[in-house]
């Protein structure tokens, strides 16, 4: 089983729920695909056994000694990344998309493409199995590709170690990083909250998932914060024919567990939240 825990809206509890599932099972492969802001390693404290460099595209760099100031690069750049002041062409690193067109066209070969090589992928062991996580250098693009690399590593470990369960902690949103986190997974668990923001985000997430053949389920976290919105969220799920397989109450114990660097299952296995999560996990395992 490859289960991705997702949510359109951030902060709904993806990582807390993923860490609970990870520690209910003896041996899993855990893949933190929120490469922008990975957090699971804080709870899992893995021993890193391998670190790989991830090249997040390239950036153009102009050699001022060779540049003649012809501005051909500026004319062709569609990202408005090149500007010229007093005949000197300058690349704005933030706007540069790394397409290399300027370097190819420069008549004096003054532009070099330099790889963005500060991003990393770590893998290692934690108390309930193996773990892979990415660390995208802040500001880098192509987070979707780093996600793909994390997932491919997780699958490799899963086969090598004979660990059948892969748990993916996905990033928020519905863009490239999320799409890359869920392609081809067997199960999708969508974590939502009872609020108009989360409901609107859930609607967009369910729209995105309409063509996905993975098994899909919804969990409403902190459902007791607004019974009315919980009902509305349940109605929305009915429209998309996706089952709500669990409702978790708000409880400070979830935050306390995080503060103690433990999953809720480890920190307080008898809490209502833990019992509900055990039930949700059983439902997922038995779902046909």
């Amino acid at each position: 089983m490859e289960l991705a825990v997702i949510s359109g809206k951030g902060g709904t509890g993806k990582s807390s729920i993923t860490s609970a599932f990870a520690t209910m099972n003896r041996q899993v492969v855990l893949a933190d695909c929120d490469v922008d802001a990975a957090n699971l390693h804080i709870i899992m404290n893995p021993d890193i056994e391998e670190t790989q460099v991830y090249i997040a595209g390239e950036k153009a760099v102009i050699d001022q000694d060779k540049c003649t100031g012809c501005r051909l690069c500026e004319e062709y750049c569609r990202f408005d990344a090149i500007s010229s002041i007093n005949g000197i062409c300058i690349v704005d690193e933030i706007s540069c998309d790394g397409c290399k067109l300027c370097a190819r066209l420069c008549p004096s070969k003054a532009i070099e493409m330099v790889p963005n090589d500060k991003s990393r992928m770590h893998s290692g062991s934690f108390r309930n199995g193996k773990m892979v996580y990415g660390r995208l250098e802040p500001g880098e693009e192509n987070s979707g590709k780093l996600v793909a690399m994390v997932r491919s590593k997780a699958r490799e470990i899963s086969e090598r170690e004979g660990l059948e369960t892969i748990l993916i902690d996905a990033p928020p949103g519905i863009g490239c990083a999320l799409i890359s986190s869920i392609s081809g997974v067997s199960d999708l668990l969508i974590v939502t909250e009872p609020s108009i923001s989360a409901k609107s985000d859930l609607n967009r997430t369910l729209q995105l998932l309409e063509n996905y053949s993975s098994k899909k389920y919804v969990v409403i976290n902190k459902y007791d914060l607004s019974p009315d919105l919980t009902t509305e969220v349940e109605e929305l799920c009915k429209i998309y024919d996706v089952s709500v397989i669990g409702k978790i109450p708000f409880d400070r114990v979830v935050v306390d567990a995080m503060v103690n660097r433990k999953s809720i299952i480890e920190f307080n296995p008898d809490s209502v939240v833990s019992i509900e999560l055990e039930k949700i996990w059983k439902t997922i395992k038995s779902y046909k």
Binding site: A37, N39, I42, L101, P138, P172, L225, S226
Partner: protein, 285 residues
């Protein structure tokens, strides 16, 4: 004129909560203010106001179209594409464009020596400007579901309006959508929560903002939940704590229904008024 981004590395810390309440407080003071929802993947700010649509623009990008009658399958466009968006298989006469991978750089168009590539527009989403109370603009960037990158949509949203004070409700994370939002801003308010996850993501955001030489301060939301590590960090790093908003179930309930907490709770209202006053002073400087 001042442009202020409300941002956070971690999702769900209260960016939209701060953006909408701060905007409301500035509106009440008669400030010339606008609010732009830059979280084009999941926009939500508009739901908190009585609004009427003023204008809507479509955001598109160009993608290549290969004319198979002119194509000689030389593969030059494929070589020039930095995004693996073109597949050319000479032996099978296949020339295929994967539109969702295309970044609209134009390299293939320049690469083709046979005039076989033209371009067409594809839809990425839209930017809508709404009227709030007949005097202010709320702009929303909304990515079309299934599109990979929100950056072109949020860039259009950022430039869609102008006001003395522009508030940008930033997307979460620390990668390109966040960078493009804060890059367009003069000042950033980072919203965090006093938990280990909140602190970890705050540190990442601070690291980037320092590299970018941006001015910023921090709001700790849901104070009282979690631990004190975040305060120690702020003190050690000499980062300004702009406000501390206590955790309260009632606030969560008001927010969940699309309400503005500052309209219903005096303590919170005073906090946002104090922030609004600070911002009005910056604007004068």
């Amino acid at each position: 004129m001042v442009k202020i981004a409300i941002a956070s590395g971690k999702g769900g810390t209260g960016k939209t909560f701060v953006s909408t309440n701060l905007y409301q407080s500035l509106l009440k003071r008669g400030a010339n203010v606008s609010l732009t929802d830059c979280d084009a993947e999941e926009p939500n700010a508009a739901a908190f106001f009585n609004i009427s649509e003023r204008s809507r623009i479509k955001v598109t990008q160009k993608v290549p179209v290969i004319d198979v009658d002119k194509c000689v399958y030389c593969g030059r466009c494929q070589d020039w594409c930095a995004y693996n968006a073109i597949i050319i298989l000479k032996e099978r006469n296949i020339a295929k464009v994967m539109e969702e991978m295309c970044h609209d750089c134009g390299a293939c168009f320049v690469a083709c020596n046979y005039g076989a590539i033209t371009e067409k527009d594809v839809d990425l989403g839209d930017v809508t400007t709404y009227d709030v109370q007949g005097l202010s603009s709320l702009v929303e960037g909304r990515l079309k579901v299934g599109v990979y990158t929100p950056v072109p949509v949020l860039k259009k949203a950022i430039s869609a309006t102008s006001a003395e004070i522009e508030i940008f409700d930033s997307p979460p994370g620390t990668s390109c959508p966040f960078i493009h939002t804060v890059n367009a801003s003069d000042y950033i308010i980072l919203v965090t929560e006093p938990t280990p996850f909140g602190l970890n993501d705050l540190k990442l955001s601070v690291e980037i903002l320092r590299q970018m030489e941006k001015r910023f301060s921090v709001i700790v939301n849901r104070a009282g939940l979690g631990c004190n590590e975040v305060y120690e960090y702020l003190e050690n790093e000499k980062i300004d704590l702009l406000a501390e908003i206590p955790f309260d179930r009632n606030y969560a309930e008001i927010y969940s229904k699309g309400g503005l907490v500052s309209e219903e709770n005096e303590g919170i209202s005073l906090q946002f008024d104090a922030m609004a006053n600070k911002i009005l002073q910056w604007n004068l400087q």
